[in-house]
């Protein structure tokens, strides 16, 4: 479980995150949704300490992360898996080396055990037998999936995914969403997913935080969101005509 309490962040004199509190629950896929530029990535980076918060608390199972020492922070981070918006794969390493990297660094597994684990993870993201490709040889969607494989390699306790299915085709998107959700359930992970894909929201949104211009605008789950009357959220959810039709069809029944 990760709790954020009253966190704020300014870049220069622009307040990007304004007094956000939320509880990301263990064993659930917690979503952060919002328009692009609303501050979703910033919240995630604040949570993992890539940006420093101006004020507030970030509690990892009760431990206030920003106040920890360097060593203690590293211990928490070893339990974090993160999928960056752009993938952030290591360009100089093959897919296998990328996925194996956290294992090399933090485990005493044998070569065979590591290879098994790498193949298992690559298999999960449907990149079986692509071990020896370099990131430069992959499409955007494949990079995302490979990055997800790396994020889950060392059995993280906290999983952060920044737009895991942007740039993916709808079919692969669903596979990735389902994968994230099943991992979350199977290993009881605290999962935080940023998305603006309404399909994912409805599919896997067990707990949702809607951010509007850096402020926590609405919270709820995937059922509540379709009944929302919050004007900004309605705008966001029903931005596409398709969603509107789906909604009307559902309501008529």
């Amino acid at each position: 479980m990760i709790e954020i309490k009253n966190i704020s962040k300014s870049f220069g004199d622009r307040k990007v995150i304004d007094d956000v509190s939320f509880t990301f629950e263990q064993g659930k896929t917690n979503l952060i949704i919002g328009e692009s530029g609303s501050g979703k990535t910033t919240i995630m980076k604040l949570m993992v300490g890539l940006h420093e918060i101006d004020c507030g608390e970030i509690l990892y199972d009760g431990q206030n992360f920003p106040t920890l020492g360097v060593k203690e922070k590293q211990e928490v981070r070893k339990k974090i898996g993160m999928l960056f918006q752009g993938g952030a794969l290591f360009d100089s390493q093959t897919l296998e080396e990328n996925v194996r990297f956290p294992l090399d660094m933090f485990t005493d597994m044998t070569k065979e055990e590591k290879l098994d684990r790498v193949n298992f993870c690559l298999d999960k993201v449907q990149l079986t037998n692509r071990n020896n490709l370099y990131p430069g040889e992959l499409s955007g969607g494949m990079k995302k999936r490979a990055a997800l494989a790396r994020a889950i390699a060392n059995n993280p306790q906290y999983l952060f995914c920044d737009e895991p299915n942007s740039g993916l085709d709808p079919k692969t998107s669903i596979v990735i969403d389902n994968l994230i959700q099943s991992l979350t359930k199977e290993f009881n992970i605290t999962t935080v997913v940023i998305t603006h894909d309404m399909n994912s929201v409805v599919e896997i949104g067990e707990k949702i935080l809607y951010i509007y211009k850096g402020k926590p605008w609405w919270t709820g789950n995937s059922q509540d969101i379709l009944k929302t009357t919050n004007p900004e959220l309605v705008d966001f959810v029903f931005a596409s005509g398709f969603m509107k039709e789906v909604f009307n069809a559902v309501n008529k029944k």
């Binding site: 980076k45 993992v48 300490g49 890539l50 922070k73 590293q74 211990e75 928490v76 981070r77 070893k78 974090i80 993160m82 960056f84 918006q85 752009g86 952030a88 794969l89 290591f90 360009d91 100089s92 990297f101 956290p102 090399d104 660094m105 933090f106």
Partner: protein
Amino acid sequence: MKLFFHLGRYFILIKRVFSKPEKLSVYVRQIVHEIDNIGISSLPIIAIISFFMGGVITIQSAFGFTSPLVPLYAVGYTARESMLLEFSPTIVCLILAGKIGSNIASEIGSMRITEQIDALEIMGINSAGYLILPKILAGVFIMPFLIALSMFLGIFGGYVMGIATGACSSYEYIFGIQAFFEPWKLYYSFTKVITFAFLITSISSYFGYYTQGGALEVGKSSTAAVVYSSILILIFNFLLTQLFLT
């Protein structure tokens, strides 16, 4: 004031670079990789430059020493002294600052802008140590060998070209390169090389590591890395020369 900002941040970075590695075996693998990357790949350019510069220095000094008072072996002596004291340790290091410096800064810089460094940090890895320490150690280890090779090839180039152009005879040149040899001067030269190796690798890593923005800024970092490494090489060349030769 900008200077103090950079200096402060540089020393803080260096302190992080030299903190205890997470996993020794991974670091050792990285060092081997960097020795290849920094050292072996620089061999051809060093070989060509040293050979020809040695040759030209020899021809020039033979051309200059027309007085009957100057013994003919002075040509070999001059070639040796120039290569050993200044050309190989300083000029070749300046050239390496261009090659290695831009390479390191752009590599680390592009890792920064594509969030690869953030990815390392998230995993709980000291990214400064992981990325920079192997480069510094590899540079400090391999550059003395590169420079020793440069010295040898420079003197050899002088011999080949000196004989080929008739600037001096084989006997005189070989006598000259052995004349009045003072071993402590090698100590001076290699102190310079090790210092410069540290400067090039650490300064270039610094500029790469603190790149902000996009591809354009990676280019700027890479230029800054070369410029500042070169300037500091010149400053330290002066300081060390004062220290050793006066």
